[in-house]
Symmetry: C2
Subunit: 243 residues, 2 copies
């Protein structure tokens, strides 16, 4: 296992941070490393809002479901899928631009995620800890208003960055054999059952305190309700019409 792979495999979300700030210079270096990720047709369909105003960080912490570390981490970023920049660039060349295609939503969301993950790796290579904040999508309209996001830009997730003040366990993952399938899709429910036992054992022994659950049980509240049912209307309103 080379040191990079070792770094990747040591990832865990960090939610407690020291007071040490993240310098602007380091942040720019991390963004630059993020941008080096592959991008669909070179479109670079993303922007990052570095939220510095304490009031906005407090507000977003609440809007994201009461996640205090959004307000307390060294640097808080909102990663946005940005179809405004590339479509307006094409428009300035004289093109008649078509917007709102489902494919454009996918391209921008995937581009944003690839860039963010490169940035997460870069941050961890510098000794920082990170935590993705999907809770941004709990109240995406209010957060878009706070950050002055224009049409054709939507907040995909946030990221807390900072120097770790705790050392949580690395959470197990599904067995590789469940994920990596040969030539065609094969059912993996037996491997899920094995993983449920492994997760149950993990929850019993983890340093963060025991919990009586497994993977499948943990997923139930995600899927027995309409998950973030506002997302469709929100995206349409922002110009991602999923045509």
């Amino acid at each position: 296992m080379n040191p990079t792979i070792e770094l990747l495999k040591s990832h865990r979300s960090i939610r407690k941070f020291t007071d040490q700030p993240v310098s602007r210079e380091l942040l720019e270096e991390l963004v630059s490393a993020g941008q080096a990720a592959a991008t669909s047709s070179h479109v670079q369909a993303y922007s990052i809002i570095h939220v510095k105003k304490p009031d906005n960080r407090e507000a977003i912490a609440e809007l994201a479901g009461g996640q205090r570390y959004v307000a307390t981490c060294g640097a808080f970023l909102v990663f946005c899928a940005d179809m405004k920049r590339p479509t307006e660039a094409a428009e300035r060349t004289g093109a008649r631009v078509v917007r709102g295609m489902t494919e454009q939503l996918l391209v921008a969301s995937v581009d944003t995620a690839l860039m963010a993950q490169n940035m997460a790796v870069a941050a961890e290579s510098e000794g920082l800890g990170i935590c993705y904040i999907g809770g941004i999508r709990n109240n995406p309209q209010q957060i878009s208003d706070l950050l002055g996001l224009p049409e054709h830009v939507y907040p995909v997730f946030g990221m807390c960055l900072g120097y770790p003040a705790h050392d949580p366990d690395v959470k197990p993952r599904l067995p590789v054999e469940a994920i990596l399938k040969e030539d065609s899709y094969q059912d993996d429910s037996e491997l899920v059952a094995v993983f449920d036992d492994a997760m149950h054992a993990y929850y019993q022994s983890r340093r963060g305190g025991p919990k009586d659950s497994n993977w499948s049980q943990n997923l139930t509240p995600l899927f027995d309700t309409k998950l973030r049912p506002h997302m469709r209307d929100f995206l349409v309103k922002r110009g991602f019409e999923m045509k």
Copy 2:
């Protein structure tokens, strides 16, 4: 710049590969590193199809728009957003599961991208080259049929992996100041103009042969037509109904 950041910044797509195969052992190591990426609520909403059958690789190379390296690279993978595994796991606990939410499409697509990007970094750290194949979405239904993808699973992109047989230039990216915005969204069209000049100079001098274009001009064919207009119906048919 630490060695990991140096590695990230040296990324360029590789499209010519030596005959050296990618071992199963290495592939599993890379997938395992990929899985270590953050995943929304631990849902791990992805599967990878390792396409080994030569006939299927030939077919996918054509279906993806005539990309020969899909057939000739060391290993070809199709990354799928997989909502089948987690929703069925929740269902087996007795939950009444809601499917087809727009948010589920986003979660699965982003999860897949984070995992793939970790895997790309791991591959490059082992001296491999990679190339994402978004062309998978040119004919996603045919490719889904070839790979026997069930409902609630869709192919997001492919990835070619192998040992590089060429050494292309690293492609420039937008200036960091365009991507990283402070506290609120600011227009960056002036920075785009600067970048257009930089890209024009790059295309004139790149080792792959000169081209008279810039970033904005290059984007025009992406946006002056309905980009992959089949995607909406395809996703709906697969159970990603964007409700």
